[in-house]
Structures are given as structure tokens and as C-alpha cells.
């Protein structure tokens, strides 16, 4: 009997320990002591109207809409970006066919850096982490047969290249007969945060504020349904920081753009309703919900009290969640499905507007089609089976969650005060204060895993031998697709009318030099087949930077 043999190998002392086991820590993920029980004394309700209020009412702690998901489900928006524009288009359509409700495409490293597909640094990496759009034809391929006035498209280009992405997208839409005012969706356009994702050469601070704000200003005036930035606190959190730091640093960066838009003469209520955020949901369910509730309350106050917003929509903290990629591990990878399910639940309990659930293979490769579908199904199970869509802010009124929300607010304020003390966010960035904060926290996170003060199944407890195969198969990126895209760009550069390109580039140079908004001349230039690298390089030169962020190629227009 095999059962008997196995039984002989069981260590019953270990079993006994497991039977009587108590949790080893009573701290939240971000390191705050949590009490055994919370009572009315921890969250007195006499300030309900002022501090909490019903969903849909200032300060929106409980949600930005009165009926939340009864009005509309969150957008099920899985990120897609793989190989060529055509490959990415195919995966996008596949997910829509399977019930995905938002389109979401991500730039690869080469596009984020503002490099054309044929750039010497790009040729090895085109399409490995997303999609490269070098010229208007790539954008046409990506959007082919998709009704741009019906869909909501999230364009994830974060760096200064977001300006080029917007110009390419609007130009393609207009040429296909769509009114820009009908376009619905968002562009990530948060070049400041992108410095901390390794893209510093493509995101100098002054150029980040200039081009980021150009997109915001242009969209405010011409694309009323478009969300022109998704301030990305998620990526900051992925660097290893705590929940309060995530919100505080994210708010600090958002205020850099807001201050610039006001300086340009826009009124806060003209543009604030189109601000959105990208938020992480990490593994501590209640801390993350409390963080989101605190962020909503604080953003509303900030908009009303600091910036004098009058329109309630300006005070809405509207956000997408990306489940925490850094919480996933390649060891026993199917467990990631469970982690993502909890994080997705957390996002919904927090009142999310749009959700990307990571695929289980996130710490190994780009999502395979099966893994992508499984991630979408995770959202669908959540939406249709669990009952979480019935009620707004189901955790509101919990002594614990209300108390933890107050705690998060207090801690976020402390971090914001520290940023103020070093001279504000721009100064914190210039002096690399923020770099040091991120780096020291990342080392702390590793030490917590090393010494077991944070437990992760399969990593520092219940370890097993490494699997030999990726359970649903590993996704590969077609090298053929990349080669073809590179060849097509070379061919385009040989055959286009160079005098038209020169004129268009000159207009970008002139208007950027005069301090005008760069989006209109970029739209004209992309129609003349000027490329991503050429348009961005020209603006870079105007601001005193090298044409090529990698310092390899010279401008062909000098």
C-alpha cells in the first residue's frame, strides 16, 4: 500500500507544530502593527459625512460613483504587447472575442526609449516586451478594423514618447474618418515616473514635464473623452516601496503636471476630471483597500483645498489597478493564479475603474495566449460569480478598515511632508533623494524574504524542486516579426519623400523652439512618414539634449 509507505515518512513532530501553529507576524505588508481586534473606539463614526460619506459624495472615500458597479462593471483590460504591431493586434482581438472590455497595448523598451526599430540598440529587442511603433503605418496596422469611436483604448507609452504615440494615434484616427472628440481611452503619459523604471535617458525631467503637459493640454482642448495621463504609482510600488510611499510619491508626481498645466493658463476644472492613476494591489488585502480609500479621500481634499476645484469630477481619484507583478514568483508558478485572484478581489473591493490581472507566467515570460485568457477569466469569475459587484464599498464601516484607512492617510501625509522638506517633488527627483528612497526600500524587501519576516509560499516556505517546464507553455516572441518590422522601416526610410519629411521636422523644431505645443506638428510629421526617433530626437535637440538618447546616431536633418 503506497499510503502506508508515505505515512512512514511523515515527520509527526512537524505535523504537531503545524497543528498548533500561530501566525508569525501581526504586521501589515508595509510594516504597521495590527491589533487583535478593532472596535468602535478605533473608528468613531461621528465624522461620517465629513470624513467618509456615501459613495459618490465628497470626499469620495467610499467610491466615486453612488452605485459603483451597478452603474457599470469595471473595465476588464488586459495589457497586450508582443512582437510586431500585427502580432499585438491579433492578441488584442483574441481577448476582445473572449470578453475583454478594454483594449490595452503596451510599448516595448525600444519605443519607450524613442528608438526606431532599425536603431542599432533596438534591432535585438524589438517586440520583446511590447510593441514598437516606428511610423504611422505601424499604428495603422495596430488599429486595423477596430472602430476607434466605439472602443476604449489604453495606450501604454509612459516616457516622453507618449507625445509621439498620441500624435500617431490621433492622426491615424482622423485619417480613418473619426472625429478626435469621439476618441475614448487613455495614454499613460507619465514620463516623470518612468525615470525610475530605467528609462532615464528618455525622460529628462524638464522634457518630461514639457512633453507630458503638451499631451495633457492638447487632449484637454481636443479630445474631451480622453484620459491624457495615468500617473503610475504602480511602477513606483514595484520598485519595492510601501503602500503609503506609493500614494505619496504618485501624488507628488501628479502635482508636477498639474502645476505646469495651471502655469499654462488652464483652469483646474478644465483638466482635472481627465486625470487618472495606475495603482498597485499587493498581497495585504485590507492594507491595499485602506490605501485606495485613503487615496480617494486625500485626492478629493487636495483638489478642492489646494487647487480650488469646484467640479466634483475634478476631485475624483479614478484609477486602474495592475495586480502586483513583483508579488509573483517563478517557483510553483500556478500559485500565482491564486495571488492574482486575491489582488484582483482587493482592487474590486477598493472600487477600481479598470483592471489588469497579471497572467501567472508574469515572472517568466510575456503572457502566453492560454495564460492571458486565464487572467481574463480570473476577472470574469470575480465579476460574475462572487457577488462583489452588488454593493459599493463593502468594507466601509468595518472598524478595522476605517481605522486602517485613517492610518494610511496619516502615513501618506508623513511621506508627503518629507518630500516637502527636501524641497518638493521636482527637487526630490533632481537631487536623487527619491532614488535613494526606492533603493533602500528594495533592499529591505529582500532582507525580509531572506530572514523570513515576510513569508512567500514556494520562496521561503514550502519550497519544492524547480519545475522543468512552464505549466501552460512558455510564450516566445517571433524573431521573424521583428526582422520584418525592421526591414519595413528601412524600406520606408528609403522610399518616402524626404523633402516633405524635412519640412515637417523643421516645423516641429520651430514650434518647439517657440514654446508651442508639439502635438500638432508631430501629427503633421507622422503623416509625412517622419518616424518616432526623428520626431522625438528633434524635440530633444531643441531642449539641449542629444538627438539620440543612446548617443549613437546623428540627426539626418542637421
Amino acid at each position: 500500500m503506497t499510503g502506508k509507505n508515505n505515512a512512514n515518512e511523515v515527520n509527526w513532530d512537524d505535523y504537531l507544530k503545524a497543528y498548533y501553529e500561530k501566525p508569525s507576524s501581526f504586521k501589515s505588508w508595509s510594516g504597521y502593527d495590527i491589533k487583535e481586534i478593532y472596535t468602535p473606539e478605533d473608528s468613531p463614526d461621528e465624522k461620517y459625512e465629513e470624513k467618509i460619506a456615501d459613495a459618490g459624495k465628497y470626499p469620495f472615500t467610499r467610491g466615486i460613483h453612488a452605485n459603483m458597479f451597478r452603474g457599470r462593471l469595471w473595465t476588464k483590460r488586459e495589457v497586450v504587447g508582443i512582437g510586431s504591431p500585427a502580432d499585438t493586434h491579433d492578441r488584442l482581438q483574441y481577448l476582445v472575442e473572449q470578453g475583454g472590455s478594454g483594449l490595452n497595448t503596451i510599448a516595448d523598451v525600444t519605443y519607450e526609449m524613442g528608438l526606431d526599430a532599425d536603431h542599432p540598440w533596438a534591432v535585438n529587442e524589438v517586440g520583446l516586451t511590447g510593441v514598437n511603433i516606428t511610423n504611422i503605418k505601424d499604428m495603422q496596422t495596430l488599429t486595423r478594423d477596430i472602430p476607434l469611436d466605439k472602443v476604449s483604448w489604453s495606450l501604454i507609452t509612459a516616457s516622453t514618447a507618449a507625445s509621439v504615440t498620441m500624435a500617431q494615434y490621433i492622426a491615424v484616427a482622423e485619417d480613418a474618418g473619426y472625429e478626435p472628440a469621439a476618441l475614448r481611452g487613455s495614454v499613460q503619459n507619465d514620463p516623470i515616473h518612468f525615470r525610475y523604471c530605467g528609462f532615464r535617458p528618455a525622460s529628462p525631467l524638464d522634457l518630461s514635464i514639457k512633453l507630458g503637459s503638451d499631451v495633457m493640454e492638447y487632449c484637454t482642448r481636443n479630445l474631451p473623452k480622453w484620459y491624457f495621463t495615468t500617473v503610475n504609482m504602480y511602477d513606483l510600488r514595484e520598485q519595492g516601496i510601501t503602500a503609503p510611499q506609493e500614494v505619496a510619491f504618485g501624488f507628488g508626481i501628479a502635482m508636477c503636471y498639474i502645476d505646469e498645466l495651471i502655469r499654462r493658463g488652464l483652469n483646474i476644472d478644465e483638466f482635472a476630471p481627465r486625470f487618472t492613476f495606475y495603482v498597485s494591489c499587493h498581497m495585504d488585502i485590507f492594507e491595499e483597500v485602506a490605501k485606495i480609500r485613503a487615496a480617494r479621500r486625500m485626492w478629493a481634499k487636495l483638489m478642492k483645498e489646494k487647487y480650488g476645484a469646484k467640479d466634483p469630477r475634478s476631485m475624483h481619484f479614478r484609477f486602474a489597478v495592475h495586480t502586483a507583478g513583483c508579488s509573483l514568483i517563478p517557483q510553483q508558478p500556478l500559485n500565482n493564479i491564486i495571488r492574482v485572484a486575491y489582488e484582483g478581489l482587493t482592487a474590486v473591493l477598493g472600487g477600481v475603474q479598470s483592471l489588469h490581472c497579471c497572467s501567472y507566467d508574469e515572472p517568466m515570460c510575456l503572457p502566453s495566449e492560454k495564460a492571458h485568457l486565464q487572467a481574463l477569466r480570473t476577472q470574469q469569475v470575480l465579476a460574475y460569480e462572487t457577488g462583489v459587484t452588488n454593493v459599493a464599498d463593502p468594507l466601509g464601516g468595518s472598524y478595522y478598515v476605517e481605522s486602517l484607512t485613517d492610518k494610511m492617510e496619516e502615513e501618506i501625509l508623513k511621506v508627503m511632508k518629507r518630500v516637502e522638506d527636501v524641497g518638493g517633488m521636482e527637487e526630490a527627483i533632481r537631487t536623487e533623494w527619491l532614488d535613494h528612497e526606492l533603493e533602500s526600500e528594495a533592499v529591505e524587501r529582500q532582507k525580509e524574504l531572506d530572514d523570513g519576516s515576510k513569508l512567500v509560499v514556494g520562496l521561503n516556505i514550502f519550497k519544492e524542486e524547480q519545475e522543468k517546464e512552464t505549466p501552460l507553455g512558455a510564450q516566445r516572441v517571433s524573431s521573424q516579426s521583428a526582422k520584418q518590422q525592421i526591414e519595413e522601416v528601412k524600406e520606408l526610410k528609403r522610399t518616402r519623400d524626404m523633402s516633405q519629411v524635412r519640412d515637417a521636422i523643421k516645423r516641429i523644431r520651430d514650434e518647439a523652439g517657440e514654446g508651442k505645443n508639439t502635438i500638432p506638428p508631430m501629427m503633421e510629421a507622422t503623416r509625412a512618414f517622419a518616424t518616432t526617433g526623428e520626431m522625438l530626437g528633434t524635440v530633444r535637440q531643441v531642449f539641449g539634449y542629444s538627438y539620440d538618447p543612446m548617443n549613437i546616431i546623428e540627426s539626418p536633418f542637421d
Partner: protein, 135 residues
């Protein structure tokens, strides 16, 4: 005498190509320093030629590559070839990051001595380096 006690181990930690995910590389550099090694952190935007040149100039015992953007099968052969060309046979080559399980044997066949996936504890790579630096 125990290996690695003779002199301070010198490690070069670097990323390759455009990959911007540098949290892991920085953390590994810090943990190696805390373990008593001397660390040259070359950082981002390095090509095989720069990496090998720095390894030669600094006379390192180990090169640590950090890959998180699916570029490991493209750059590994280029680095190994560059190392061979420059006679760096006695330098240990390790890599860390995000890879499908299927690629680990491939990377080792290509010439990486040991692959550490995301989720590795510091003890595992510190000990491996201490035990395996070449004479």
C-alpha cells in the same frame, strides 16, 4: 584554506541592452557587498563589449547578468563569445532574472555557470559564488 577567504571576491553586476528593470540588479549588488564582496555596479545600457572590457579592467572574479525583458537568449551567446575572445575563462558567469524554466538548461549550455530565477534568496547566490569562484 577555504575558497573565497583568500582574498575579497570581486563581482561585476550589470544589465544588458535596453532592459530597464534594475531593482533586482541593484539589490543583488547590495547583498553581495553586505556579504563582503567588492562590487562593480555597471548598471543599465551595457553591451557585451563594455561588460567584458570592464571585467578585464577591473579583474573581476564573477560577472552577474540581470535579464528581465526576454533578452537572455539573444545576449548570452554574445557575452560568452566576447569573454572567450578576451580569455576570461577563469571568470564565473551567473545570471538572474525572469526566464521560463525551459530556458535554464539552454542558458547553461550557452555558457552560464549558474542561473538564479526571481525569488532567489541572497544566501543561495552568495554561497554559490563563494564556493565556485575560479582560481
Amino acid at each position: 584554506m577555504i575558497k573565497g577567504k583568500k582574498k575579497k571576491i570581486k563581482a561585476l553586476v550589470t544589465k544588458v541592452g535596453l532592459d530597464g528593470h534594475d531593482r533586482g540588479a541593484k539589490v543583488v549588488a547590495s547583498m553581495l557587498k553586505e556579504a563582503g564582496m567588492e562590487v562593480i555596479y555597471l548598471g543599465m545600457f551595457q553591451m557585451p563589449e563594455n561588460i567584458v572590457k570592464a571585467a578585464l579592467d577591473e579583474d573581476v572574479d564573477v560577472i552577474g547578468l540581470s535579464y528581465l525583458s526576454g533578452e537572455h537568449l539573444i545576449f548570452t551567446p554574445l557575452i560568452v563569445e566576447e569573454m572567450k575572445k578576451n580569455g576570461l575563462d577563469n571568470v564565473l558567469l551567473v545570471a538572474g532574472g525572469t526566464f521560463p524554466a525551459e530556458d535554464i538548461p539552454t542558458m547553461e549550455e550557452m555558457g552560464i555557470d549558474k542561473v538564479f530565477r526571481a525569488g532567489s534568496l541572497s544566501e543561495s547566490f552568495v554561497e554559490y559564488i563563494r564556493d565556485n569562484v575560479k582560481e
